[in-house]
C-alpha cells in the first residue's frame, strides 16, 4: 500500500536520512520510535513532500513517484493521498474548527460546499467537538486543537495519515484522551504512521514498530519483538531510557 525505497535527504552537509526503506500494508498502524534528531519528522515530511527528499522512490496506493522525476502534479497527487497531523496542530488560524476541516475538502478536492459541511460536522462530532464548530483555534485548548487537527486529516479520507508526535505539545493530562482518539482512528482501518514517544500506546496499537537512529532504520518488527526482544544494542539503550513495566524488556 505504502512503500518507500532508498530515501535519502541531506540538509547541507548533514545527512539526515540515509537510505531509508519502509513497507506499510493497508490498514496497518506503524509506530516510529527513535531519539530526537534521528530523522523521524524529516521522514514523514518527505513522504508528503513538505520536504523534498534528494533521492528514492515513494509509492502510495496506485501512485508511484521517483523523487528525482517528481513534478508538481505528482507531488499534489501524493499529498492528496496523505493526511498529516502536526505536533503543534497547525490549524488555520483564520478559520473556525468547522472551516478548518472543510478547507481541504472544498478547495483541494472540489467537494461541494454543502457536502463538505456535512462531512466536517460529522467528523467534528466523531472527535467529540460538535459544540465547538464555530470556535477559532485561538479559542480552543491544545487538546481540542489537536482533535480538530485529527478531524481535518480524517475527513479527507486519505490512504494514509501521518502523525508527527501528535501528543508531545500537550499538557500531560490531555495526552491520554488524544491517544484514545488516535486509537479510534486506527479502528476505522485507516493506514497510519505515527511518530511518538508513548511506549504504552505503541505497544497497544502498533502492528509494526520501527526504531530509527541517526537517519537509518535500526530495527523493525512486531511490538512484542521490539519491546521484549530487541536485537540491536541501540534499540536496547533507547528503550532503557523509558520507564518500562517489569514484564517488558530490561537490562
Amino acid at each position: 500500500m505504502l512503500e518507500i525505497k532508498h530515501i535519502r535527504k541531506s540538509f547541507g552537509r548533514n545527512e539526515v536520512l540515509k537510505d531509508v526503506s519502509l513497507n506499510v500494508k493497508k490498514g496497518e498502524v506503524v509506530v516510529i520510535l527513535g531519539p530526537s534528531g534521528s530523522g523521524k519528522t524529516t521522514l514523514l515530511r518527505c513522504l508528503n513532500f513538505l520536504e523534498k527528499a534528494d533521492s528514492g522512490e515513494i509509492t502510495i496506493g496506485n501512485k508511484n513517484v521517483v523523487i528525482q522525476n517528481a513534478g508538481r502534479k505528482d507531488i499534489l497527487d501524493l499529498r492528496r493521498k496523505t493526511g498529516f497531523v502536526f505536533q503543534n496542530y497547525n490549524l488555520f488560524a483564520n478559520k473556525t474548527a468547522l472551516e478548518n476541516i472543510m478547507e481541504g475538502l472544498v478547495t483541494a478536492r472540489k467537494v461541494p460546499k454543502k457536502d463538505a459541511r456535512n462531512i466536517a460536522e460529522e467528523t467534528l462530532k466523531w472527535v467529540g467537538l460538535h459544540d465547538k464548530a464555530d470556535y477559532y483555534p485561538s479559542q480552543l485548548s491544545g487538546g481540542q486543537q489537536q482533535r480538530v487537527g485529527i478531524a481535518r486529516a480524517v475527513a479527507l479520507n486519505p490512504e494514509v495519515i501521518l502523525f508527527d508526535e501528535p501528543t508531545s505539545a500537550l499538557d500531560p493530562e490531555l495526552v491520554g484522551e488524544i491517544l484514545e482518539l488516535i486509537k479510534k482512528v486506527a479502528t476505522k482501518g485507516i493506514t497510519m504512521i505515527v511518530v511518538t514517544h508513548e511506549m504504552t500506546f505503541a505497544q497497544d496499537v502498533a502492528d509494526k514498530v520501527i526504531f530509527m537512529d541517526g537517519g537509518v532504520v535500526v530495527e523493525e518488527g512486531a511490538p512484542k519483538e521490539i519491546f521484549y526482544r530487541p536485537k540491536e544494542e541501540r534499540t536496547k539503550q533507547f528503550l532503557a531510557k523509558f520507564i518500562i513495566p517489569d514484564n517488558m524488556y530490561y537490562i
Binding site: N48, F49, L50, L76, R79, R80, T82, G83, F84, F86, N88, N90, L91, F92, A93, N94, K95, E103, G104, T107, A108, R109, D134, Y135, Y136, S138, Q139, R152, A153, L156
Partner: protein, 233 residues
Amino acid sequence: MGDLFSADRLVEEFPKLIPYLIENLKVLLWATVFGVILGLLITGVRMKKIPILYQITVVYISFMRGTPMLVQLLLIYYGLPAFIDPILGTNISREWPPILFAYTTFILNQGAFLSSIFYGAIKGVPSGQFEAGLSVGMTKLQTFRRIIAPMAVRIALPPFGSDFVGVFHNASLVYVIGVVDIMGRAKSIGSATGHVLEAYVIVALLFIIFSMGARALFGFVGNKLDYANIKVR
C-alpha cells in the same frame, strides 16, 4: 506678544485653507492606490527571488528608505526631466504640472515602503500555516490565497495604517516643488497678510484630526479582522 495671533483671523482663514487640502488628499490617494500595486509587484519579485529584478528592488528599497522624502521629491522634480526628456524627446519639466512629480515621487516611495510591510507580513505568517495548507492537498497558490494572504493582511494592517498617516504628513512637503496645497496656501496667506501663525495652526489642527480619524479607522478594521476576538454565538 502684540498681534501675533488672533482667533478672528483663525476663523476667517479656515474656509480659505480647507479647499487646498484636496491636493494633499490627492497625493495620498495616488500614493496609496498605486503604491499598493507597486508594493505588491515588488513583493512578488522578492518572494519569487526573480533574478536581476530582485537585485534592483534591493537597491531601490534601500534608497527609498534611506533618504528623506524631501530629497526624493527634489531629486524627482529636477532629475526626472533630465533623465526622461533626452530619451523620449519630451519636455516634462514644462508639460507636467508639479503635482505629477509629486505623485511620481510618492508612488515610488510608497512602493518601497509598502513592499517592506507586505513582505514582512507574509513572512510573519508562521510557516506551519503554509505546510498545513499543502498537507490538506491545496496548491501553493490556493494556500497563499486562502490562508496566508488573509493572515498577512491582518499583520500588515497596523504598519499600513501608520504608513498611511505618515504619507499624509509627508504630503505637506509638496509645496516645495510648487504644488499649491494647504501648506502652499498657508504660506501665501502668510505673506499676503503678514500673519502666518493662524494658518499654520489651522494646518496643524487639520492634520491632527485626520491622523486621529485614520488611526481610529484602522483600529476598527483591525479589530474586525482579529480572529482571536471574534465572538462566538
